[in-house]
Amino acid sequence: METEARTVDLNLCGLALGDYKGAPSTLCPGCGHNAISAQVQNAVWELGLPPERYVKISGIGCSSKSPNYFLNRSFGFNGLHGRMPTLATGACFADASIHILGFSGDGDTASIGMGHFKHVIRRNVPMTYIIENNGCYGLTKGQFSATSDLGLVLKHQGVNMLPPLDMCMEALISGATFVARAYSGDAKQLKELIKAAISQRGIAIIDVISPCVTFNNKDDALQSYTWGRDNEAPLHDFKHFSNKEDLDAADFEPGTYREIKMQDGTYMVLKKIEKDYDPTDRSAALDLLTESYKNKYFATGLIYFSEATATIQELYDLPEEPLNRISSDRLRPTKNMLTEINRSLY
């Protein structure tokens, strides 16, 4: 066997990309969400931890079905419409060494779950929160969502009379410290953003514009493949490196890039494309989002980053050992403590 040439690449923990696969997708052929699934699989594999170190939590909708299509060996919970962030809030205390990947859509997050979206950011629940944003309701067959463009025409709906919400703006003003926008047609950038998001301390939001080929893919629709292909304007050439050695090995030309060290010791590298854009400047991020909303400017990449303060998990003084593995005898107060309580209530 030893002489046989290795035909499969293995990652740091010795696993092949195939070890990170899921069930075959049942979404429509060509669905933007399938591209996201592929990049989650790639990103997690490249980061080199086994799939057992992740859990996938989702709400309801096409987006929320997608976690079934990658990371078979990770626990998954396909919960209720809009409530994904609440499940994640409870689950994050079970085992702090497990990274939570949250999947949601524009119906799930921007409408029914908007309150939870804001509050999960406010709590800084340590997780990667991916919005698979196609500007419509897919699983109920083509209704407007809260991110549908003003004036969008859908077959059974007529004309959308209400302005869309910008989920990156919502994330930013809620206090998120990692806010990115991606396009499911731009696989390379999406994968790198997912890797960086997973490396962020606390919550990281990626709003992925992801075309719905069945209900919202007309050429002039903001969430269509055509629009994305013709208009996507990456803010920078974005890469994530797990360590300094890999970064040095990439051998970028000095002065052409900016490196940002993340709190977990990994690195983000931003190479300038056209304009200078500083994702660590919150005012610049607000300006960018205001501008792109107004002028339908499809800027993608890392929109905002800052070092995060404590996650909700870290605010509690919990043991290092996973809370869900603490033996039962350590959970029950002593008999003496109860005697003392009884005494105090006499």
Binding site: F93, A94, E321, L323, L345
Partner: protein, 615 residues
């Protein structure tokens, strides 16, 4: 309203240790401590005592009443009339006196204006609160508190409560603040001395010291439920404030840092997290339960309405979680500060589709403690939501109760399996009924075995958690879950019985929850009237076989409860349909705790109607 003036006290002897005092104040005026001192002192004197706070949904300025019932016989349920009124609120003064029988007693702040034609059949004791305050040097912000301490002294002196008993209660109440204790006690003493020098005893009520109640404590059900949960090893509690459940979680917040320090690492083993709404409270609790934490939330009716979809998810994904409902009066916002048992039916079948649940119903404060830890064991053992149905009366009012008993069995984590145990299974599936009792083995996140993970979903799934729309599979899953709940029945708290001393007993009375004291008193009163009844209190659903036997063995079973439609009676009629003719519903609504008087009269009326027995 009752016509209290038509009630007359028997005989002309002193009435010792059997009376009800209602203290009438304005809410936010700082009377809680004074009330507390008075009833706790009675308890310290060995007299069974309860304290009920009848309060408005308001913070300051509206009438509020604190009702102390002292009963040597142990009858501490609500009583319809008062024996003694302490009047501190002009707005309700006249009305408050209507609850007094002839010979009833009025202690009144003498700055209140008397009605134009005061009742002549009452005994009045004026309390010169303002004058006494003038002579005391009290900081302005403490004035209201201290005024209330004066009535404690005056009332105590007239009833014969010894000053040293008040002293010891006050010093234990303010044990960490001796100077506060001192100033409070000096006001109580001022009132006491005033009464001794100026008031002549005219009424018949006396307090006499009894042997100490050493097996008992005085507390409320929410404190007990919160402590019970901490002793049950709860690891996660997410919640959203709502009356009357809030104080349950606040009791946990108060004690968690003392009680839940890991003996090995010195770190904390329980997370309590207030979230944005009840949807998030249950969502996070389900997420934690799914993640392998002992998990709970506490709320009241409106919160349950919001939590319903998630309860269905937990039921169908077989995720353990404990949900306390400290019931208040519905529908809608209803009467948020009053009590009821109106959520029972809703809970039993909570959720859309084919659902049914396990419900625990504590009837005493000490049972709130016990069901606090037991519910967490049951949730993990049966991998399902467990409801604990308390109510405002039990949860927020003060009760004399048996001391909390340390759990007599170790924490039960149910069938959680980790890496090594998983290896022993040839063909494990998350929803596979390996033992034949409907209860599967479960893995939780963090398990590093490549075989451990599964995809949890609220949609149709097979034994391995894989999506399935197959009709046969669906029915198999639903029937297995139903089986699991039936398997649980023998492990749920069995009904408790209080049998009549008579041999031939035709009548059974059935109750649940906070009506316990009222129904024991009802049984005693009926026995004195020559109507022997057996009493059964149901403590869990689905019903225990002993419930059927009890109903079968009586000709008529009165089911007494605090809701309009007789929800417990309806459930019993459904589940024990062959004896449905033996079940008679008696319902009391209005938001107040049940009284023995109402129960006795209702039973006698029905007995007359039945033409079988009268009095």
């Amino acid at each position: 309203m009752i016509e209290a003036s038509k009630i007359s006290y028997e005989g002309d002897e002193p009435i010792v240790n059997e009376f009800c005092i209602t203290i009438c104040t304005v809410n936010g005026s700082g009377s809680a401590t004074a009330n507390n001192i008075l009833y706790r002192t009675l308890f310290h004197l060995g007299i069974p005592t309860s304290g009920k706070n009848i309060f408005p949904s308001n913070i300051k300025g509206l009438p509020t009443w604190f009702v102390i019932r002292a009963s040597e016989k142990g009858h501490t349920g609500r009583q319809l009339h008062d024996d003694i009124v302490v009047a501190m609120n002009q707005a309700t003064f006249e009305k408050d006196m209507e609850y007094l029988p002839k010979g009833g007693v009025v202690f009144y702040a003498d700055h209140l204006k008397m009605p134009d034609t005061p009742r002549e059949d009452l005994i009045y004791y004026p309390m010169p609160i303002k004058d006494l305050m003038k002579n005391a040097e009290v900081p302005r912000k403490l004035q209201a508190f201290m005024e209330n301490m004066l009535f404690v002294g005056i009332v105590s002196q007239v009833l014969g409560i010894p000053l040293e008993a008040l002293n010891s209660t006050i010093y234990s109440h303010f044990s960490s603040k001796p100077t506060v204790a001192e100033s409070n006690f000096s006001m109580v003493k001022n009132g006491f001395v005033y009464a001794a020098e100026n008031l002549v005893k005219k009424d018949r009520f006396f307090v006499k010291r009894l042997p100490p109640l050493t097996d008992y404590i005085l507390t409320d059900g929410n404190n007990a439920g919160g402590l019970g949960s901490l002793f049950g090893g709860v690891q996660f509690c997410s919640w959203y404030p709502i009356t009357p459940a809030t104080s349950l979680v606040e009791a946990m917040i108060d004690q968690v840092d003392l009680l839940r320090i890991d003996p090995v690492t010195g770190k904390k083993t329980c997370v309590i997290l207030q979230v944005e709404d009840e949807l998030a409270a249950i969502g996070a609790a389900v997420g934690a339960g799914w993640g392998g934490l002992r998990s709970m939330t506490a709320t009241s009716g409106p919160g349950i309405s919001l939590m319903t979809e998630n309860i269905g998810l937990a039921y169908f994904t077989e995720t353990p979680v404990v949900v306390w409902n400290v019931q208040r009066v519905g529908p809608s916002t209803g009467l948020p500060t009053r009590t009821a048992q109106g959520d029972l039916s809703m809970h039993y079948y909570l959720g859309h589709g084919d659902t049914s649940h396990i419900i625990l119903i504590p009837g005493t404060v000490t049972e709130c403690f016990e069901f606090g830890w037991r519910s967490l064991d049951l949730a993990e053992r049966f991998q399902t939501p467990i409801f604990v149905l308390s109510d405002l009366d039990l949860g927020m009012n003060q009760w004399i109760t048996k001391k909390f008993v340390y759990p007599d069995q170790p924490i039960d984590r149910g069938r959680i399996i980790w890496e090594e145990e998983l290896e022993e299974f040839k063909d494990w599936g998350r929803y596979k009924d390996i033992e034949g009792d409907g209860i599967p083995y479960r893995t939780v996140m963090g398990n590093q075995s490549p075989k451990a993970a599964y995809f949890t979903r609220g949609t149709g799934h097979n034994e391995y958690g894989r999506y399935s729309e197959d009709p046969e599979n669906w029915s198999r899953m639903l029937l297995r879950i139903e089986k699991k709940l039936q398997v649980a029945v023998p492990l749920l708290p069995a009904p408790v019985f209080r049998r009549s001393k008579s041999e031939e007993v035709e009548i059974g009375i059935i109750g649940m929850g906070s009506t316990e004291d009222a129904l024991r008193e009802t049984q005693d009163i009926l026995a004195e009237m020559g109507i022997p009844v057996d009493y059964m209190r149901i403590r869990a659903l689905p019903t225990n076989p002993a419930v059927r036997e009890f109903i079968a063995s009586h000709s008529r079973n009165y089911v007494l409860e605090l809701n309009r439609d007789g929800q417990l009676c309806e459930i019993l009629k459904l589940e024990i349909s062959e004896y449905s003719q033996k079940l008679i519903s008696l319902s009391d609504i209005g938001g107040m705790p049940m009284t023995a008087k109402w129960a006795v009269e209702s039973i006698i009326n029905m007995e007359r109607k039945e033409g079988k027995r009268g009095n």
